[in-house]
């Protein structure tokens, strides 16, 4: 770990956590890239090899510290790929400067990405529609905000989204926007589906198959939407595209064997309520066949378009 201490004992994880604390609305990949840029700025690597060692190490630290957060890994991968491209530079210094610039542009461009998603997606929201939204997602909020600005009148059902009840936050924001909304129980999705015109979901990550990794409950929502033949649209910035190909729910990097695993528990003293959030997963995987279209900052695409974009970016 000698190379890390060269970086003026800069702690990437700490920097990342500070960024998240400073601005709760920042998304994980953006914060990750932002802290990686800081790392590169602080250190004085004289050889390319050194640089190529420090940055991936820092990425690993970040991933480990956040329990393999999927969107964070996606951000790190974008940064690493950028570095691999820039590694043909003349000197380590030149590469470093270019990398800092690219990373800074990425961070500044992230907000624009969200706006572009909203722009591509907002024509799908029309007057008099009833929209079902799962959990809280900044991109979805961006899209709905734009639709409100365009004077569209629609109603929104928001799932409560246990265990962190992030749906309540979405509802509060929608209320402020003047959009009629109701919070529904996660278990009421099937009950309400008939009244819904379209379903919107954000994404923690979009995988190579075009499937979706998102807040727990998205998968069952998508299944019900498909059964009721309602369009299910997923919204994601393209930096959330990750190079994973999960085959089932238990194939995600966030999988832990102790989740819902019939552990031996001391009889009589079980606090089931506490057990609930401890042993339940926070994310699930929605296979591509349940997704009607993806709204991304690269345009509207079918799930099969994701692999094309990933190939374009990583194999170029």
């Amino acid at each position: 770990m000698a190379s890390i201490s060269d970086a003026g004992s800069f702690n990437v994880v700490q920097s990342y956590n500070e960024l998240i604390k400073e601005d709760p609305s920042i998304s994980a990949p953006v914060a990750a890239v932002s802290s990686l840029v800081k790392l590169v700025e602080r250190q004085r690597a004289t050889t390319m090899l050194e640089l190529m060692k420090i940055v991936p190490e820092a990425c690993e630290q970040l991933k480990k510290a956040t329990g393999n957060s999927i969107s964070l890994s996606a951000g790190c991968d974008v940064f690493l790929q950028q570095m691999a491209r820039l590694s043909h530079a003349q000197s380590a210094e030149e590469c470093r400067v270019a990398l800092i610039q690219a990373g800074t542009e990425f961070v500044q461009g992230a907000g624009r990405c969200r706006d572009n998603v909203a722009e591509f997606g907002s024509p799908f929201v029309r007057d008099d529609q009833t929209i079902l939204v799962h959990s809280y997602s900044r991109v979805i909020m961006g899209l709905l905000r734009r639709a409100v600005k365009q004077n569209k009148r629609f109603r929104v059902y928001v799932t409560e989204s246990r265990p962190d009840q992030s749906g309540l936050r979405a509802a509060a924001e929608l209320q402020k926007l003047g959009v009629p909304c109701e919070v529904i129980l996660d278990a009421a999705v099937g009950y309400i589906m008939q009244k819904v015109d379209l379903v919107l979901a954000g994404a923690e990550g979009v995988v190579e198959s075009g499937g979706l990794i998102n807040k727990i409950g998205t998968y069952q929502l998508a299944i019900i939407a498909k059964a009721a033949k309602k369009p299910f649209y997923a919204l994601a910035e393209s930096f959330k595209f990750v190079r994973l190909y999960p085959l089932n729910q238990y194939d995600l990097p966030t999988y832990r064997s102790d989740l819902l695993s019939f552990k031996e528990k001391p009889a009589a003293t079980i606090d089931w309520q506490a057990e609930l959030s401890r042993s339940n997963p926070m994310l699930d995987y929605t296979p591509p066949e349940f997704i009607t279209l993806l709204f991304t900052d690269l345009g509207v695409m079918t799930p099969s378009g994701v692999s094309d974009e990933l190939i374009k970016f990583y194999l170029d």
């Binding site: 990405c113 930096f239 374009k312």
Partner: protein
């Protein structure tokens, strides 16, 4: 767009001669339903653009593409439901740009363009926004002489028109891959592409049985049957209501299209959705024949946005006073067939999956899907 005011002025000059009357007369013909068939719309739109370019005296690329855009916008505004116009304008703009890029040669202009392009692409793929793409529409191409540029553009449009003209001939070449001897085919509505496709198959395959749904109330299916029967194909006309019943005997459903949307959904003659749904119930393959000029870079936001309602007197005669006074009669011209009911799309180059359509379109249209340049709803926000 970054085009300067002087470019705008030039454009105005280019439009101020007899061009407006050309545009107006085309718009009038569109509105009166004189030009309905997809191929005619495509050819006439291209012809109009060609005429306008050949009459203009524009010497730089930015002004010229600006002119094409302006005319395109006007046509689209006049007939927003006619997807073909939008397709044609987008395609021609795209082809002109491609051509201009290729023609640049190895001078520094080209080098610069190449660099900005790869830069923009990297940026897009990295998820760093589409800023590059939005702006590069206004970049000028100064080096080339005006006369030569005009010739290039006219040539591009000419090529596009040739492509449209040759669509059916190219599509029918695929017939043997999709139709085999002794198959029973079901189709509906009037489509020249499908007619030629089936005739070509009949000339190669041993025996072909075609069932045509009559497509009431316009009875376009009857005209189709007449066309097919003239080539000694074994044709049966059935009423639309009999489609579901007869589907169990059908091997393949072959449909024509008015337009194909970016998600692979198809705008076809009214009644096509019902037939595709019946085919799905019986697990019968649905093949859609459509030329590439019908590929529209738009997504269906709602099912009826691009439909038109035509004169209902074929359903209920105007003479039937008692009924006409008492009820509303709707006679929609098109149907939207969702992509999940379409098995394969056949164009000039062969068969494609509906889910792959968006990619074909991104390759051949400028600003595909973004609807950037013609100021769709939501722009200016």
């Amino acid at each position: 767009m970054a085009s300067s005011s002087s470019a705008n002025a030039k454009q105005e000059v280019a439009l101020s001669r007899e061009v407006p009357s050309l545009i107006e007369s085309f718009i009038t013909r569109l509105k009166r339903g004189k030009v309905v068939e997809a191929k005619r719309v495509a050819l006439e739109t291209a012809e109009l653009l060609r005429e306008i370019v050949s009459r203009s005296a524009i010497d730089d690329l930015a002004t010229l593409t600006g002119l094409l855009r302006t005319v395109g916008k006007r046509l689209i505004a006049a007939q927003p439901r006619e997807l073909i116009i939008y397709n044609v304008v987008c395609r021609i703009l795209h082809n002109v740009k491609e051509e201009a890029k290729g023609e640049g040669g190895a001078d520094e202009e080209e080098e610069r363009a190449g660099r900005t392009k790869s830069g923009a692409r990297k940026e897009r793929a990295a998820g760093m926004g589409v800023g590059g793409r939005l702006e590069d529409g206004g970049r000028t191409d100064g080096g080339r002489g005006g006369y030569q540029l005009k010739m290039v553009v006219l040539e591009v449009i000419r090529e596009f028109m040739d492509e449209v003209e040759g669509t059916e001939a190219a599509i029918e070449e695929n017939a043997r891959e999709h139709i085999h001897s002794n198959e029973i085919i079901l189709t509906c509505g009037r489509s020249h592409t499908v007619e030629r496709f089936l005739k070509h198959a009949a000339s190669k395959a041993k025996r072909l049985h075609v069932i045509v749904a009559e497509s009431a109330p316009g009875y376009a299916g009857q005209a189709q049957a007449r066309g097919l029967a003239s080539a000694n194909i074994d044709v049966i006309v059935v009423s639309d209501a009999a489609v579901f019943g007869i589907m169990s005997r059908v091997n393949k459903v072959i449909l024509g299209a008015h337009a194909v949307l970016a998600n692979g959904g198809v705008v076809a003659d009214s009644g096509a959705h019902m037939i595709a749904a019946a085919a799905r119930h019986h697990a019968t393959q649905v093949v859609v024949c459509a030329g590439q000029y019908k590929y529209s870079p738009l997504f269906p936001f709602d099912d009826d946005g691009f439909n038109t309602v035509v004169a209902p007197d074929v359903a209920v005669a105007y003479g039937d006073g008692a009924l006409v006074g008492a009820v509303d009669v709707a006679n929609p011209h098109y149907d939207y067939v969702p992509p999940e009911l379409v098995d394969i799309l056949v164009d000039q180059t062969g068969g494609h999956l509906p889910s792959y359509l968006y990619r074909l379109q991104q390759e051949s249209y400028e600003g595909a899907g973004s609807r950037q340049w013609w100021g769709a709803e939501g722009s200016g926000q």
